[in-house]
């Protein structure tokens, strides 16, 4: 009699146990994948830095090299580099996202081509040329500071404007129109639809643009020193000018490491801010 009763129960227990085991196995695998995902890049970058350090240590440095590659100089240049990158990216965000929203609203959509044209112009001009142009412009306008951070940030902003603008527009426009219709149909105001539906759904695409802009800016900021903006470009250029390969390589590797690190961190933020259901 009990045998007619037990099988389903036993089966159920077996099924649950198995499911639990599978969950656990999946969990273990997922955890391992996550560890690789999160720690892989930082460990790699640390290894690169360590290799660079050991390599430089192994070289016979002459006095010029020894003077150029000091920890203090490199750190201060890195700080300048990061500051330039962050400033310009924040400014681009503050400009390009609202403009992207503006260019996709029904009433103001007709301005979209003009706005995109602006972004295109900023990016189409080679970055060095753009910076030189701005430098010249700032020099001839006595009211504006001609050296230091300011002109460089303006140049970086112009150069990285397009990715964030374009991604904001694409991100907003790829939102399913029936999702918007449902929101509207339930009586959400246009502002609320934008805030609660369109922007959250556009976040991943906008952030991808931000990531691109950040990496672009790390690269372009290497030119900043030409206009008195400092940054790691100085070390690279010194190495070049003085024909000191150790210096050149050190500067170049540091910029590359910085770009990868920024990309990695931006990726983490992107992941964190992407709405869960997507």
């Amino acid at each position: 009699m009990s045998s007619t009763l037990t099988p389903p129960d036993a089966q159920e227990v077996a099924r649950r146990t198995q499911a639990r085991d599978e969950d656990a196995a999946l969990g273990r695998r997922a955890r391992r994948a996550r560890i690789v995902h999160y720690l892989g890049m930082p460990l790699f970058l640390l290894a690169v830095l360590l290799a660079l350090y050991l390599w430089v240590q192994g070289q016979e440095l002459d006095s010029i090299e020894a003077r150029t590659i000091t920890l203090g100089t490199l750190l201060s240049q890195t700080r300048q580099h990061i500051t330039l990158t962050l400033y310009s990216t924040v400014v681009v965000l503050l400009l390009a996202v609202p403009l992207g929203i503006f260019a996709t609203r029904p009433g103001t959509r007709r301005f979209a081509p003009a706005i995109i044209g602006l972004g295109n112009a900023g990016q189409a001009i080679p970055s060095l040329g753009l910076l030189a142009l701005l430098y010249y412009l700032f020099r001839t306008q006595p009211a504006l500071p001609s050296t230091g951070t300011f002109p460089v940030v303006v140049g970086l902003v112009a150069y990285s404007f397009l990715p964030i603008l374009r991604n904001t527009m694409v991100g907003l426009e790829q939102v399913d129109r029936f999702v918007l219709e449902a929101g509207k149909g339930m009586g959400m105001s246009q502002r609320r639809v934008l805030r609660r539906i369109e922007l959250p759904l556009a976040v991943p695409v906008i952030l991808a643009g931000v990531r691109t802009a950040l990496v672009l800016n790390v690269g372009t900021a290497a030119l900043a020193f030409l206009f008195g903006g400092g940054g790691l470009g100085q070390t690279i250029f010194s190495g070049f000018q003085l024909r000191r390969n150790v210096v050149l390589v050190t500067g170049a590797v540091l910029v590359a490491v910085l770009a990868l690190l920024v990309d990695y961190l931006a990726g983490l933020i992107e992941e964190k801010l992407t709405p869960k259901g997507l």
Partner: protein, 412 residues
């Protein structure tokens, strides 16, 4: 008294029942899209009675969706008026208007970044309900549409099947208990079996809720099934006929309607009659699984029946048993004889029942209530009788249908 009988008969025959209080009225509603010569909707006038489902049906591009979307002004009318509950809403704040109207579309449009619970809570949140009330309402509604709140409330839309999403869409539309619902092909993108189930569930729900519903479909069968009244629309949302399904099947107003309804009108009418409307054989011989084999056998032998229906402890039908099945002792009763097949609920249509019988190769359908408890039997003869009745009352129409489609002869 004879009056009452009379009106009863006519309503059965398909004369439009006297409409009650009007909930939605469209007056000369017109929409011209910029750059198009002919209006998409041309002076549509229509009254939707309170508590009824009015189905807009017609060929693709005839203006059904446009007409529907003008009611909540997702599309602003070019001219004409919309009156809801005696209030002209043509120029009021559209957002206020839409919070009073439930809206369900084929594409559903759930917010993918919000959990199911938050999706359903959309309108309550807009109306500023407090958290507790919203939460209770969300759980209640998920329950109503057949989704366990504990399982589904915290999920995201992508973690649901198409049918489940559509249920959430309906729950979301009902959240603030709006008196009016607009539904644009709500079951259009779902497989036929799920669609049928959702239709039935929705009809049962509507039986309780009594909402006023404008429902768009391009499927005449769905229109017949769902509609208290059907508006058949032609190009430009011209009203070809506005009547009850019976009336439309019996008396198509013109050739367009006749073509649109298509052939097989008699079979379609089987979809209009529900199992609960015909008399069931309720003196069927039943036994319970906990009864003694011998008692059952004697009962069967003493009756006129050749088989008895075995019910489980909850009175749910499980097996058909004949005398030899009851004699032999080896097998447990629950495995003897034949499985009970072709089980239908009272709100199923005769067409559903017939289909179940054909699928189950059974000459009889077993009718059970919502909990699966046995209620009675429906014989294939009962269905033929029902067809016969239709035929007698509409002999002429039937002949016309028969002439126009030789296939019908086989099925009739």
């Amino acid at each position: 008294m004879s009056d009452v009988t009379n009106s009863d008969t006519t309503s059965h025959l398909g004369e439009a029942a006297e409409p009650g209080e009007t909930m939605i009225e469209l007056q000369e509603l017109t929409k011209r899209f910029p750059g198009q010569e002919a209006p998409a909707v041309d002076r549509l006038s229509l009254k939707i009675p309170k508590g009824e489902i009015v189905v807009f049906v017609g060929p693709s591009g005839c203006g059904k969706t446009t007409s529907l979307k003008m009611i909540n002004r997702i599309i602003e009318p070019s001219s004409g008026h919309i009156i809801i509950d005696n209030e002209d809403v043509t120029t009021i704040d559209p957002n206020q208007l839409r919070r009073r109207i439930g809206y369900v579309i084929q594409q559903i449009g759930l917010f993918p970044h919000m959990r199911i619970g938050d999706n359903v809570a959309t309108v309550p949140n807009l109306l500023g309900w407090d958290k507790e009330r919203t939460r209770e309402r969300v759980d209640e509604l998920l329950d109503v549409v057949g989704l366990d709140p504990r399982t589904y409330r915290e999920r995201f839309p992508r973690e649901l099947s198409g049918g489940q999403r559509q249920r959430v869409g309906v729950a979301r539309a009902l959240a603030a208990d709006p008196p009016v619902l607009l539904m644009d092909e709500p079951f259009g993108a779902i497989d036929p079996i799920t669609r049928n189930r959702l239709q039935n569930e929705f009809l049962r729900l509507q039986g309780e809720l009594q909402k006023t519903i404008a429902f768009v479909t391009h499927d005449i069968d769905e229109a017949i099934k769902m509609g208290d009244r059907i508006a058949i629309l032609q190009e430009g949302a011209k009203l070809a006929q506005f009547a009850t399904p019976e009336e439309i099947l019996t008396n198509p107003a013109n050739e367009f309607v006749q073509d649109f309804v298509g052939t097989g009108a008699t079979l379609k009418r089987l979809k209009l009659t529900r199992v609960r409307e015909v008399e069931l054989t309720d003196d069927a011989l039943t036994g319970r699984e906990d009864e003694d084999r011998e008692t059952l056998r004697r009962r069967l032998a003493e009756s006129d029946w050749t088989a008895m229906l075995l019910l489980d402890r909850e009175e749910r039908p499980i097996r058909w048993l004949r005398t030899p099945d009851l004699r032999q002792q080896q097998r447990p009763l629950t495995e003897a004889g034949l499985p009970a097949r072709a089980i239908v609920e009272p709100q199923a249509t005769l067409s559903d029942a017939l289909e179940e019988m054909l699928l189950g190769s059974a000459g009889v359908a077993i009718v059970t209530d919502g909990r699966g408890r046995f209620q009675g039997l429906l014989d294939v003869d009962d269905i033929i009788l029902a067809i016969q009745t239709m035929r007698d009352t509409e002999a002429e129409f039937y002949r016309a249908a028969k002439l126009s489609d030789p296939d019908d002869e086989v099925s009739a």
